[in-house]
């Protein structure tokens, strides 16, 4: 049994929130840069150039890449032989969110009641935490602040087995088509196929943070990702939605076993401010 203090986790999550909010990943920066080289639309190239300048300013000045610093989504993989000591794990995570969003000049975008008062919690808590127990004694932390411009354009559909590959492709492409300029293209398209309704949604969210340098390990799904990407980039939506060939940087698919009667498909869109930071304790 390995002891890991709640305070160690708080400090690490605090650092990861700031890192994700200020410093875009090299993979995303490279993908936008390559897209600019290939983009035939002059206005689209100008937009991509502004995004690259924006990444650089945020990195140099330690300011938020986007003013929507999101809801703080945290994926935790906790080794079953790790023991959190010295406090409540969830309190430690929320304390990290409180401290990072307050001290780091990040926008507080969370309201306590979703329907009635909609009163801002003023410190961006609570975090949205997804925990999985895994073998081992480490704690794997992925912090992925999620803006709502793209979150609002996300969709889920309970397809049926007869819909097949074509049904999946059409649904994902249509989600991006319907979203048009709203989710801040070029987007990263997170797709979850299988499991249950909430399982598909969670996989789609996880896939918005997959490295752009790592294709799907299953060659059939790697090919499907490319097939969908090609169709999306033929929509013409382009950077910022004003016309161009780069509408998505990547399509990332994750799958899971599902029921004999179903084929849930979730599409979680992420804008070009695709922020995430990862660490293992």
């Amino acid at each position: 049994m390995r002891q890991i203090s709640a305070e160690t986790i708080r400090k690490k999550v605090y650092d990861l929130i700031l890192q994700a909010s200020y410093h875009i990943g090299d993979d995303v920066c490279r993908a936008v840069s390559e897209a600019r080289e290939k983009e035939p639309s002059p206005a689209g190239r100008a937009v991509l150039g502004q995004l690259l300048d924006n990444y650089a300013i945020a990195r140099e000045e330690n300011v938020a890449i986007c003013q929507d610093t999101g809801m703080c989504v945290i994926f935790l993989e906790i080794g079953q032989d790790a023991h959190v000591t010295g406090g409540d794990l969830n309190e430690a995570l929320n304390q990290a969110v409180h401290d990072a969003y307050t001290e780091g000049y990040l926008r507080k975008s969370v309201v306590r009641d979703p329907l009635y008062q909609r009163e801002n919690t003023r410190d961006n808590t609570p975090a949205v935490v997804h925990t999985r127990i895994v073998p081992g004694e480490n704690i794997d932390i992925l912090v992925t602040p999620k803006g709502f411009g793209s979150e609002n354009m996300s969709r889920i559909k309970m397809l049926v087995p007869a819909d097949g590959e074509q049904g999946v492709i059409d649904f994902v492409v249509d989600a991006v088509r319907q979203a048009g300029p709203n989710p801040c293209p070029p987007v990263i398209v997170g797709v979850g196929i299988g499991s249950t309704m909430e399982g598909a949604a969670l996989m789609a969210k996880r896939m918005t943070a997959r490295s752009l340098d790592a294709p799907n390990p299953d060659p059939r799904y790697a090919e499907l990702e490319q097939k969908i990407l090609k169709r999306i980039n033929a929509l013409g939506i382009g950077p910022a939605g004003i016309g161009g060939r780069c509408t998505a940087l990547a399509v990332n698919i994750m799958t899971a076993p599902t029921h004999i009667a179903g084929m849930p498909v979730a599409v979680n869109l992420c804008c070009h401010a695709a922020r995430h930071a990862h660490a293992v304790l």
Binding site: N54, A234, I237, I242
Partner: protein, 188 residues
């Protein structure tokens, strides 16, 4: 094509001359408002109370800025998605608002109201928020301070770049632009 320099506030003549796809550069004063502030502004109109600022000729920027860090007038301040303000925008256009700035699509009702009132919808690049913040030299909260980032701010901007997304005739860059680049491959 050279960018069109516009001193704010707007004038009906200037707005009428703009066409979808034009690049513009703003100097002067504009106001911010997003979801919660719009709800309150329209509640003012419903109840016959005065608005916290005179919207005639003004440009409203849909943004909830990040807090300013030391040495900055404002934190990162890119546009938010505009359709959430569609339910409220025609009421403000009827009061004389001439410009809106955000990102993303607008409803047919908003576009009809823009045509009727001679107003224009501008776009700033979503997500280019730290870059945009450099063009905002002064920020003051003028109403609804309790809303935090959603309070109404008065921004003084210098060389703030934007595009005309939908002009006062209803021409829409989100329709014109993508048509030039879509291909048959989209249908598989």
């Amino acid at each position: 094509m050279a960018a069109i320099h516009i001193d704010l506030p707007l004038t009906p003549e200037k707005v009428a001359s703009l066409r979808a796809g034009d690049e513009v550069i703003f100097n002067g004063v504009l106001y911010t408002a997003r979801d919660a502030a719009h709800k309150r502004l329209v509640a003012c109109l419903d109840e016959g109370r005065p608005l916290p600022f005179d919207v005639r000729g003004q440009l409203i920027y849909y943004v909830g800025p990040a807090p300013a860090s030391p040495g900055h007038a404002v934190g990162s301040a890119g546009p938010t998605t505009s359709y959430r303000m569609d339910a409220y925008a025609p009421r403000l256009l009827d009061e004389g608002l001439l410009g809106m700035m955000g990102k993303g699509k607008r409803s047919p009702a908003v576009i009809d109201s823009m045509k009727k009132n001679g107003a224009v919808y501008f776009g700033a690049v979503g997500g280019a928020a730290a870059l945009i913040a450099r063009c905002i030299v002064k920020s003051e909260v003028i109403a609804y301070e309790d809303l935090g980032a959603e309070a109404i701010h008065r921004f003084t901007v210098r060389d703030f770049p934007a595009l005309v997304l939908i002009d006062s005739q209803g021409n829409n860059l989100y329709e014109i632009g993508p048509k030039q680049y879509q291909t048959e491959e989209q249908n598989g």
